[in-house]
Symmetry: C2
Subunit: 164 residues, 2 copies
């Protein structure tokens, strides 16, 4: 004989579906290349900001300084293309660096619209010292990697973002 049909008893006094998370599982995100690359980049930036404080250089400012150092006469447009900066946002960076008297804008020898970017002697020294320091900081970011692993890591990252 079939059991009589009866209303289900009211749920036991669980004010919510008892759900308490002890440890947060982020396994899915950690399987994603983009997520891991971003977390690693943020870790590196954190080390950079701390270690570069004496130079008062933000990451993008060191990038600008370094590219000018290795490419004297480079134009703003070339800098923007190389670093992925938009032209309006480079203007303020260059103004800051020019006020610090480490960068100078000179008229371009062949194109009257463009400016050739150069470092002052002080800028050359700053670029040298800052590049040396950031190279040291890299070692602490990559502290848990062997030299071979670091080389592999950088090579694989380049395969991700550099055009084939």
């Amino acid at each position: 004989m079939p059991a009589a049909r009866m209303p289900r008893p009211a749920a036991a006094p669980k004010p919510t579906p008892e759900a308490i998370v002890e440890e947060v599982d982020t396994a899915f995100l950690e399987s994603l290349l983009g997520y891991n690359a971003r977390r690693a980049a943020l870790a590196a930036i954190s080390v950079f900001l701390e270690g570069m404080a004496p130079f008062a250089l933000k990451p993008v400012e060191l990038s600008v300084l370094s590219v000018i150092a290795h490419n004297p006469g480079v134009t703003s447009r070339q800098l923007c293309n190389a670093l992925g900066i938009l032209p309006p946002n480079l203007v303020g960076l260059l103004n800051t660096l020019e006020k610090r008297e480490v960068v100078v804008r000179k008229p371009h020898p062949r194109d009257g619209r463009a400016m050739g970017l150069h470092l002052t002697p002080a800028g050359q020294k700053l670029a040298r010292d800052a590049e040396k320091k950031v190279t040291e900081l890299e070692a602490s970011v990559a502290a848990r990697l062997t030299p071979a692993e670091l080389r592999t890591l950088i090579a694989l990252l380049k395969k991700v973002y550099l055009p084939a």
Copy 2:
């Protein structure tokens, strides 16, 4: 008989130290882990934004959705710690997702101060579909890497940012 001392002729018509850069050398920056990680992360985000447009989910929103999906009842504080988001900035994210009716805040069963975060059925479907899509997009980001290289890359990135 010594040539008479005469003023040096005005410099030849070189208005500036002839400096024309053909190709920009970024070798120094490309030797830095942080620079490469950031460029790779930006490349991945670009692919994400394009491919995830139909879902109208920003990267951080998918992260939030995914963590809640895999950790029902997780608190805001736990989410912030897991994803590196500051609590004031999570509030707006959760408000947006709650207005979309994919996330619900429920009172925490044991801690009256906290909120347990849960997905609605629609949120569960969105999380499933979005995770599937982002997994596909990963393949295009890592198109130039072999499966083994991708595994190596992710493992090495974790060694950079995860505590030993």
